[in-house]
């Protein structure tokens, strides 16, 4: 690219007085440009100001998102005040009827409770395990990088695949987990991991932890690698043992990231549909029927009720907004210390 400021080749050498100080593009007579393969191309965007161009460039993306995300958001909120006689037919306004069903009905509140349990357990386990594993993978052991790569596998594998594999491992008849526990005499009879109402929820949580743990580990490892090493050295020289270094220096250093990661996982776990649905579809006996699964079930499962499904969605959206705001506040406050 030549760096000459002035008219392009073929133009008169003298710049007309009135054009001095303007950009070359402003008086370039040619509307065509020679480019790849020696072809001539139209000069795109020649009449546009930066402002207009910016608008044109975001327009396609903006339109698509408005149509697929913001417009549906409006529909779901308005549908929650309507009753629909059929799955796809028009609705009529019923005010708060759907919300009354949520409070009075037998489905919503228990599902909300399960969702809270599912979310809290998931987040606590993921955060603590994530921290331990990240600390372990941060030690300089041989083969560390291979281990770091391998640990991400559960996250890479599709959710459907994870559900099928775990369904097989926890199967009552051919399941390997039961076999191992039986032959080690830890349990006396097959536990029916995913088929018994007592164990299904915790089994689903365990599988979900397995699947999404890698995200936590990545975040924590990134943070661990920025621990100021000189400080640790200094502390050791001053006679601090490993536990003291961990408790007084590394943990406080990790805390902001742990908080942010835990918030993100809370939002995600609360809205997670894939693993609970694929593993148990809400069963057995509704023991894993969390809110996202209930939405789908209300829409196209046991009942075909878009209004009620919308009401559940609307409530979850408001919870999401609250948590989103809390997350933003935490993020702002910790931003200074987490910025990489």
């Amino acid at each position: 690219m030549k760096e000459v400021i002035g008219p392009p080749a073929g133009e008169p050498d003298v710049i007309p007085q009135e054009l001095l100080g303007k950009r070359v593009i402003d008086y370039h007579p040619s509307h065509w440009r020679t480019g790849a393969f020696g072809m001539r191309y139209p000069r795109l965007g020649r009449h546009l100001s930066d402002k207009q161009l910016g608008l044109l460039m975001v327009a396609p993306a903006l339109t698509l998102m408005l149509f697929y995300v913001l417009y549906p958001l409006w529909i779901v909120l308005s549908s929650s005040f309507q009753d629909f006689s059929t799955l796809t037919g028009p609705g009529r306004w019923v005010g708060l009827e759907n919300y009354r069903w949520l409070i009075d009905g037998q489905q919503f509140l228990p599902a909300l409770g399960r969702s809270v349990y599912y979310t809290v357990t998931n987040v606590v386990l993921q955060t603590l395990l994530g921290l331990l594993i990240a600390l372990l993978l941060n030690l300089s052991l041989p083969g560390r990088n291979i281990a770091r790569g391998a640990i991400l596998f559960p996250f890479i594998v599709p959710g459907v695949v994870a559900a099928i594999i775990w369904g097989y491992l926890f199967d009552d008849l051919t399941g390997v987990v039961d076999y191992v526990l039986l032959s080690a005499h830890i349990v006396k009879e097959p536990l029916g991991w995913l088929t018994s109402p007592n164990t299904a929820m915790n089994t689903v949580i365990a599988i979900s932890v397995w699947k999404y743990e890698p995200l936590m580990i990545i975040l924590f490892l990134a943070r661990l690698q920025t621990v100021p090493v000189e400080m640790l050295e200094a502390a050791r020289v001053d006679g601090a043992n490993h536990l003291q270094v961990l408790g007084h220096m590394i943990l406080p250093w990790m805390l902001p990231v742990m908080l942010i990661a835990a918030m993100l996982r809370t939002i995600f776990s609360f809205n997670e549909f894939e693993m609970p649905y694929l593993l148990t579809r809400g069963g057995p006996l509704d023991s894993t029927l969390v809110l996202p699964v209930l939405i789908r079930q209300t829409l196209i499962g046991s009942s075909l009720n878009p209004g009620r499904a919308s009401a559940i969605s609307a409530i979850m959206i408001s919870i999401l907004v609250v948590f989103g705001v809390i997350y933003m506040l935490i993020y702002r406050r910790t931003e200074g210390s987490v910025e990489e």
Partner: protein, 264 residues
Amino acid sequence: MWTLVAVVITPLVWALLTSLKPDSETHRYPPTLVPHTFTLQNYVQLFKILPFATFYWNTIEVAAISSVLTILLAAMAAYAMARFRTLGTEAAGFVGLAAYMLPGILLIVPIFRIAHALGLLNSLSAIIGLYTAYFLPFGVWQLRSYFAGIPREIEDAAMVDGATRFEAFYLVVLPQALPGLIATGMFCFAVVWNEYLFASLLLYTPTNQTLSAGLAHVLIGQFDLYSWGVLMAACTLMSVPLLLIFMVVQRQLVAGLSGGSVKG
């Protein structure tokens, strides 16, 4: 550390090994870890019993088209947002953030009803549009930081040489950002490849299903399939492309994820 790695990846290795066992061995008690007889029978069966080739092709088509579209639209929007501040770019930023935070499950009612009203249920092109819209915010997020890292001086030099602003964008900035475009595109490809919720909601006949939706229907029992071996073969074939992609973009993926964009 190796114990941990073993615990984490054993299920996946077990699945791979099971896919190579004959059915008689899968049902044997006690189970065998390493197959006594290796066989590709399950893979052959997979293509015979299930419309697996169709699933596979549909998934490739949907994932490829929507990630290319995502990249194109996201690159333009991200560039405009990185360089100009107008009402349009601000609005796009806001809508993008909202779209980014909204889990798909909360929108299934309107998406199902709109798709039905437009006659787009069970259509691959509708789901391509949906995926593009849904993963655009991620693409914009990633590419914005790429564009911000490309010095303005290069564009200015191009414009001094007579390029229009848009030419400077696609002739100078885009080639510079190529590694970022490819990495983001591959990541979108992987996410679309995995996507289950919308696929199962909108696609219901086997000829139009993606791998996620198709295999989930097998799991739920739409097909008469009683062989774990065949299912494990399907799982293996579905995961292989993802592992390849992951090896290529591992570094960017990890950087991106720890950069705050943590959407499962």
